[in-house]
Amino acid sequence: MNTTARTPSGAHRFWGTLRAWLTTKDHKKIAVLYLLTITLFFVIGGVIATIMRIELAGPGEDVVSAEAYNRLFSLHGVIMVWFFLIPAVPTVLGNYLIPLMIGAPDLAFPRLNLASWYVFVAGGALTLVAMVTGGVDTGWTFYTPYSSTFSQSHVVLTVCGIFLAGVSSIFTGLNFIVTIHKLRAPGLTWFRLPLFVWTHYATSIILVLATPVLGMTLLLVLIEHAVGIGIFDPAYGGDPLLFQHFFWFYSHPAVYVMILPGMGVVSEVICCFSRRRIFGYRFIAWATLAIAVFGFLVWGHHMFVSGQSYLASLVFSVLSYLVAVPSAIKVFNWLATLYGGAIRLDTPMLYVLGFIGLFTVGGVTGVVLATLAVDVHLHDTYFVVAHFHTIMVGGMVMAYLAGLHFWWPKMTGRRYDERLGRLGAVLVFVGFLLTFLPQFILGYQGLPRRVATYDERFHLLQVMSSAGASVLALGYLVPAVALVKSLFGKAEPAGRNPWGATGLEWQTTSPPPAENFLAQPVVTGDAYDYPNAPAPVAARGGAHG
């Protein structure tokens, strides 16, 4: 490419390729566009987190001012939530895999799919413009009056960016719902669907029903802020609790948007690397839907100290316990699948085992926080920070990396260095524990979050957390190197089915042709027929146990 790029025909070809990519309606190429975009946002969010951890290594305002710190944690939250955690698995893995898994040539609305990417990029661009021109200091939650009367930051621009990201989410969710309903291969009944597809179906329902609430709420914040109409801000005669209700009506279900697709990845990987049928398929499918439905009923647990009525808090607390049930069902089913399986510890499986452990910790600490009396103590402390990072970084990011490694050979036709991959998985897991275990303790001791400075007695644990974060950062570099390296030079070809996995996506070539399948596949059995699956092909990079 480099040698030909200098000649006019080479430049011509370069622009032609770029144009083809930017106008593609192929879900696989759009998934790659999303992969690049989302990786960029992950890096930006990660750099901001790094600056914060450096600042927190010392108790005073050492590196950045308190004012700058407010902007850093706000942007870290905004970018990571809306431009990484929510879209990552659905738009990259879901986009790539759902048509393949259901034996379809594409998503139902290919042009809408491309449009969703452009809208997403536009939203991201607005947010980045807001960021470099000063950012926001409201936190990612935009509570009024931080976002109205007392805002000295780029609320309007950032809110527009998030609104566009939400529109993109709705496009994606709508597309997935119609695709899963209408484009399944002959014989692929609902209860033969891979669980990855089930989780994306549930996720799409949440995206479509929760995101518009966020969208309208943010528009109202914008109108209030820009015009001066009293909606949420008490100074203008508005109701700040109403904002919190709307915001969490979206943002609690959004947590399941972040985690459910990851659970789909886990179900696929765990079967493949223990060579077993998933235990309790229907339980997991129904639990997935139950999580999506219950997720809409628990938003008030974010408002225990907001002044909502005691009865409301009690009801929300009990409902929040209930959400733990379907989540626990899934964990038990995964463990039962592992039990007695021929377990192989390839890179995706290492990530998945990390996911199960950390998701359990995150879930159990979530139950702790859902307990009304305990939450009054732990609210807005590092315990909350540690809890949701355990679900998000320990859960969602691990699952995303598991999925990326698992389907990378399918997407690229190449195998990555297995030893590097495993090293990355171990580093990410260890780095995670070192970063966030101290934060659980800090929170329990009462250290409030979102403050740049802290008392001297928290110093040791904060330093430990910052040190752990550098291990975590290193951990993220390793898989990036392993995956990118596989694209260059003489990487090992993947073949159709390197892992010996079941599922339609493994029956076509790697990468698949533009139309996905040369002949329409027909499904005759369940998704996890591992007793009769082909044997995995060992990679050169490492031996299989």
Partner: protein, 217 residues
């Protein structure tokens, strides 16, 4: 009803035939409508809460609105839904001229609605019935009053009007395409447009009594 227009050229990737495409487009449109309901739902929750807390303010506000004009607007939208149905029918039968004509009629009615809306806005703004709160002029605590009601009024009718504008643009585009007659009318798309238009109509049917008829019981 005559036979459905089922030319193979109407079918887009990845669908196998017109019936398949129709089922997918209509499901997609219904999903879209579901999210619109949630989108407007936020406004109605805001409205409901405000009305529960300040019923007298809402009643007084409703009496300040122009009910006869709003009734004409309601009828206009209802008729436009009817012409839209005829447009969809023409598209399904492959009747290009009928489609162009009925779409044009729908678009004109929608523009008439917007014109009345604009006149109404102008009237209220000229009368000082605006929602903007001036923090420097008022005392430190703003009482719930006319400004809050007009906040509801402008925001709710404003978002509805934006949906009408979006509809008008698409209707005009499709009507021109049908009138020029270069391409066959893809009736699955017109059917989706029709569903959208009915949604816009239905939203108004909730906005109208909520705001205009409050205080007239």
């Amino acid at each position: 009803m005559a036979e459905l227009h089922a030319d193979a050229r109407l079918v887009r990737e990845p669908f196998t035939d017109v019936a398949h495409q129709r089922a997918a487009v209509s499901l997609g449109m219904w999903v879209f409508i579901a999210q619109e309901v949630l989108f407007f739902g936020v406004l109605f929750v805001w409205y409901g809460l405000f009305r529960a807390q300040h019923p007298d303010v809402v009643a007084a506000g409703g009496r300040a609105l122009d009910v006869p004009l709003a009734t004409v607007m309601t009828v206009t939208l209802l008729v436009s839904s009817f012409t839209m149905v005829l447009a969809v029918r023409s598209a399904m039968l492959g009747a290009r001229r009928g489609l162009a004509g009925w779409l044009a009629a729908t678009g004109l009615l929608a523009v008439a609605f917007l014109a009345m809306k604009a006149w109404e806005y102008h009237h209220h703004i000229a009368a000082g019935e605006v929602p903007v709160v001036d923090l420097h002029a008022a005392s430190s605590v703003v009482e719930a009053g006319r400004a809050q009601f007009f906040g509801l009024y402008f925001v709710m009718t404003g978002f509805h009007a934006l949906h009408v504008v979006g509809g008008v643009l698409v209707i005009a585009w499709r009507a021109l395409a049908a009138a020029r007659g270069r391409e066959l009318p893809r009736w699955t798309a017109i059917m989706g447009l029709g569903l959208y238009w009915h949604l816009v109509d239905v939203v108004w049917l909730f906005v109208f009594p909520a705001l205009y008829l409050a205080g007239h019981a």
